[in-house]
């Protein structure tokens, strides 16, 4: 029973990912796509948590954390690129 629910949840998350992927594909604007990617990352995070439960292992808990960090870094990088064209500045501008 629990398993089934978990599987359903996994499927739902996967569905969300598909929708988010649709955003990545269709845009229309670049930030839309980035939002989509961010969302994929966050949902994957949830999926990994559930998979950990399904597989009965704690091995992937680090992955969750890392994924969180990285989707954050990715989003920052993309938004900075969209905003300024460069993502690392040489000198502080203030």
């Amino acid at each position: 029973m629990k398993e089934t629910i978990l599987l359903i949840s996994l499927t739902l998350f996967a569905l969300t990912i598909m929708v988010a992927f649709f955003r990545v594909l269709r845009g229309p604007s670049m930030p839309d796509r980035v939002v989509g990617l961010d969302m994929i990352g966050v949902n994957l995070l949830s999926m990994i948590a559930i998979i950990s439960i399904v597989l009965k292992t704690k091995a992937f808990l680090e992955v969750i954390l890392i994924l969180g960090i990285l989707s954050f870094i990715g989003t920052i990088a993309f938004s900075k690129y969209l905003e300024r064209g460069t993502i690392v500045e040489r000198k502080s501008d203030h």
Partner: protein, 140 residues
């Protein structure tokens, strides 16, 4: 046009701290659970990347005045050097010290050479990733 990054910077400070802790944790846990020199190093490097992203090169450099090329070089030297240590003891190249003593009491020393090796790996990873990103960003 100035862009205000106060929110970002505030959050980043905390986040970087978390990441750094995590990287140290991953580095040491490698022998029993996922992690190790590579991953630890990569996570640490990503923390630094995050710092560069949210701040700027000069500021970060003030905080970490290393030449990351040399950090990387030192890392490689350490990694290869541990291989040599066993040569001095007359063992095959790269024999880790753990092989020498199987006594549980020496469990601590057992780990030593592997940890050193992994430290070298981690240093290289950090050094290289930061070098690459810095070099590109400094280009005009």
């Amino acid at each position: 046009m100035k862009i205000n990054d106060v929110i970002l910077r505030t959050v980043t400070k905390i986040v970087v701290f978390i990441i750094l802790t995590l990287s140290v944790y991953l580095f040491f846990s490698g022998h029993y659970s996922p992690g190790g020199g590579f991953i630890g190093g990569l996570v640490l490097a990503s923390a630094i990347v995050l710092m560069y992203l949210t701040s700027d090169i000069e500021t970060v450099h003030k905080g970490m005045p290393f030449d990351f090329k040399l950090v990387a070089a030192l890392g490689v030297l350490i990694a290869t050097g541990t291989g040599f240590a066993s040569v001095i003891f007359g063992k095959d190249f790269m024999t880790q010290a753990a092989m020498k003593l199987n006594l549980p009491i020496f469990g601590e020393t057992e780990l030593a050479s592997v940890v050193l090796f992994e430290a070298g790996v981690a240093m290289t990873v950090i050094g290289v990733v930061v070098t690459i990103i810095l070099s590109i960003s400094e280009d005009e």
